[in-house]
């Protein structure tokens, strides 16, 4: 063995501080604490109704089913909001939309509640990371950024992106609103006469060089000029997980399977020839009145895309298992809202409150868990925050609208009333004069449509006997209707006043 000279020893000693600093930047610190790591993985617009995990006839989610074998699976979990802003805000604050008031597209949580977000509540002892590939989720993360230690750009892990607001990272979301949602908004003409022309021509040029290998036409992309491959996103997220300081809380909000539905070639033909068709339902007056054929085609595309997302998620799951991360981490898999393919509607940009748009997957895999547990009683996305706070040993605050989830300190209780709401057309600050609200209790669901037409109306469904929500019982089961109507109106009127 070569002996170490005094000169070599001094050289090594001089390198020691640099080596120490380097190790701290790329290596996670050892698990010196009992607090568990938590990964919250949100799939945008993933409806539980379209997952085979929850009984959907198409085999769309084999990897979700694999995770389910070591998770608590919630079968009646509903989002409090019907689109990204309201659904995500409820998930991250534990408040119903009428309280947090992130109810407009691009909206944010009211200042009074902005600090009551999951990141701030976890505190500095956790390494807190946020990634919102959906711009609407990113707006909320920007609002909560004082609670984030790692704030990933919405364009992280992308193949091509042109998000101007990220150049002004100290002043998001104002810069996002100005540039990405207005001056250079991709779905409308540029609002900047000269720079808009240059920006769009440049992006047209850059899009030309995207490789579409593995896809028929285009690779997946968001509404805001972010083009990506699912495998890159999951690989990037795994690499981030390896770098976080322990313990960590990571919130990863993925765009997929949100529209446009772009499955890879491997998946796009998957359901084109199967004979399965869902029950036909009457068009809804507040729906888009799209033909059944078009809705069916969109459903087929969506199902193929969900299967593609599940397949890539499987690789992420493999990586978590192989690295042993799953044995020391809570993995929470859910969505911010669902997606609807019935009643003349596809997508979720509508005021309807049917289950496909609100029924969200929720699986929680605890560290080292190796058996499956199923919870059938109703839960709501506002319950996720208090449950995670409890897991992390934090106090569950009284202001929170949610309860502890069954299996994590909570009890199964179907007599509890839970709510979902949409109020996009109105002001976040004023009285909620145009809104749709769904209340669930004892297996019934009451839907209230307020202010959309001259007359407000209600629909009542018995979810046990009529899970497809085909028979409106509002004028038939009068006692149940009146009891639920009184409770819904009382709660709504208490909460719908101006801020």
């Amino acid at each position: 063995m070569t002996r170490l000279s005094r000169r070599d020893f001094l050289k090594l000693a001089a390198m020691a501080p640099a080596a120490l600093a380097f190790s701290q930047t790329i290596m996670p610190s050892p698990l010196g604490t009992d607090s568990p790591n938590i990964i919250v993985l949100v799939f945008d617009a993933m409806s539980a109704d379209n997952l085979s995990l929850y009984g959907y006839p198409r085999k769309t989610s084999p990897n979700f089913e694999r995770l389910a074998q070591r998770s608590t699976v919630y079968h009646s979990h509903y989002s409090a909001g019907s689109f990204t802003t309201s659904g995500t805000a409820s998930l991250l604050t534990g408040l119903y939309p009428w309280t947090h008031r992130a109810i407009s597209i691009n909206g944010q949580v009211a200042p009074a509640f902005a600090q009551k977000n999951i990141f701030s509540l976890f505190g500095k002892s956790y390494d807190r990371a946020g990634f919102g590939q959906n711009f609407l989720a990113e707006l909320l993360l920007s609002e909560f950024r004082s609670g984030l230690d790692v704030h990933l750009s919405p364009a992280a892990f992308s193949v091509r992106q042109q998000v101007a607001g990220t150049f002004f990272e100290n002043d998001t979301p104002a810069s996002y609103y100005a540039f990405d949602d207005f001056l250079f908004r991709s779905s409308s003409s540029p609002r900047s006469l000269i720079f808009g022309l240059i920006e769009r021509a440049l992006f047209g040029f850059r899009l030309k060089s995207i490789s579409t290998v593995g896809y028929s036409d285009n690779i997946p992309h968001t509404d805001y000029k972010i083009y990506y491959r699912l495998e890159d996103v999951f690989r990037g997220l795994m690499s981030q997980v390896n770098q976080f300081r322990r313990p960590f809380l990571a919130y990863f909000h993925l765009w997929s399977p949100h529209a446009p539905y772009i499955p890879s070639k491997q998946f796009e033909q998957l359901y084109k020839k199967d004979k399965w068709a869902p029950p036909k339902k009457p068009n809804h007056p507040l729906g888009d009145q799209v033909s059944f054929g078009i809705v069916q085609y969109q459903r087929q595309q969506y199902d193929a895309y969900v299967t593609n997302v599940d397949w890539e998620f499987g690789h992420f799951l493999d990586a978590l298992e192989t690295s042993g991360e799953l044995d020391r981490t809570y993995l929470v898999v859910t969505s911010d809202h669902g997606e609807m393919f019935e009643r003349g509607v596809f997508g979720h940009d509508n005021p309807l409150m049917y289950d496909p748009i609100l029924h969200s997957p929720l699986l929680i895999s605890a560290p080292g868990q190796n058996s499956r547990s199923d919870i059938y009683s109703q839960t709501n996305s506002v319950d996720v925050l208090p449950t995670l706070l409890k897991i992390a040993g934090r106090d569950v605050s009284a202001w929170c609208a949610g309860r502890l989830l069954p299996g994590f300190g909570g009890v199964e209780d179907d007599s509890r009333s839970t709510f979902s709401m949409d109020a996009k057309p109105g002001s976040s600050f004023g009285r909620l004069s145009v809104a749709s609200v769904a209340m669930r209790k004892n297996g019934y669901k009451l839907i209230y449509y307020k202010g959309y037409t001259g007359t407000d109306w209600f629909e009542l469904y018995n979810l046990h006997d009529d899970p497809e929500e085909l028979t409106n019982l509002f004028n038939k089961d009068v006692s149940m209707s009146n009891a639920m109507k009184d409770e819904l109106l009382t709660t709504f009127n208490q909460n719908s006043g101006p801020l």
Binding site: Y177, S186, G204, S428
Partner: protein, 177 residues
């Protein structure tokens, strides 16, 4: 002939710049007023003010870019053709190109349109702009009318320049702090 002789005087530049300001700022403000009710639904007034600062600061730089383009034309073309009738020909050149871009942008929104279609429209835009610019210096009545309009438009600079300066300060401060 030296470059300095081909450069327009400040008194000539202001009216041309005013025309550019009306069109560039006007386009953005027009659309912003359409968007305003939506912003009022979920943003506090202060935040909307900040967004307007970003818009105005962007307009300021793009208006300078357009002015720079007109001055380059003045440097390239013979003095008699452009520099001596800078206000009328510069104003019409800037206005005709900017209005052509407006029409294009109003009708097209896909990035591929801007990459593939705009270059094919460009010769037509330049031809129209060239003809109008020529006429603006050649026909005395048009020249006078354009000069009167452009010189009166200078009043907008008394609003746009301080507003742009203030907006720039707001943007810089918010990104430093």
């Amino acid at each position: 002939m030296s470059i300095k002789n081909k450069l327009p005087s400040l008194a000539q530049v202001y009216p041309v710049y005013a025309i550019i300001v009306i069109l560039t700022y006007g386009w953005t403000i027009y659309w912003a007023l359409w968007k305003l009710p939506s912003w009022l639904d979920f943003l506090p007034l202060g935040e909307i003010g900040v967004i307007f600062c970003y818009l105005v600061a962007t307009n300021f730089f793009e208006s300078l870019l357009a002015l720079f383009g007109v001055i380059i034309v003045s440097l390239v073309l013979p003095r008699k053709w452009f520099r001596e009738v800078f206000v009328s020909r510069g104003s019409v050149l800037a206005a005709s190109i900017l209005i052509s871009i407006m029409i294009f942008e109003y009708h097209f929104d896909k990035p591929s349109d801007y990459f593939y279609k705009f270059p094919s429209y460009l010769p037509l835009i330049l031809l129209i702009a060239g003809v109008l610019t020529f006429l603006a210096g050649w026909i005395r009545m048009i020249r006078k009318a354009v000069e009167v309009f452009a010189e009166n438009a200078v009043i907008f600079l008394f609003i746009s320049l301080p507003l742009s300066l203030l907006s720039l300060i707001v943007v810089i401060v918010r990104n430093i702090i």
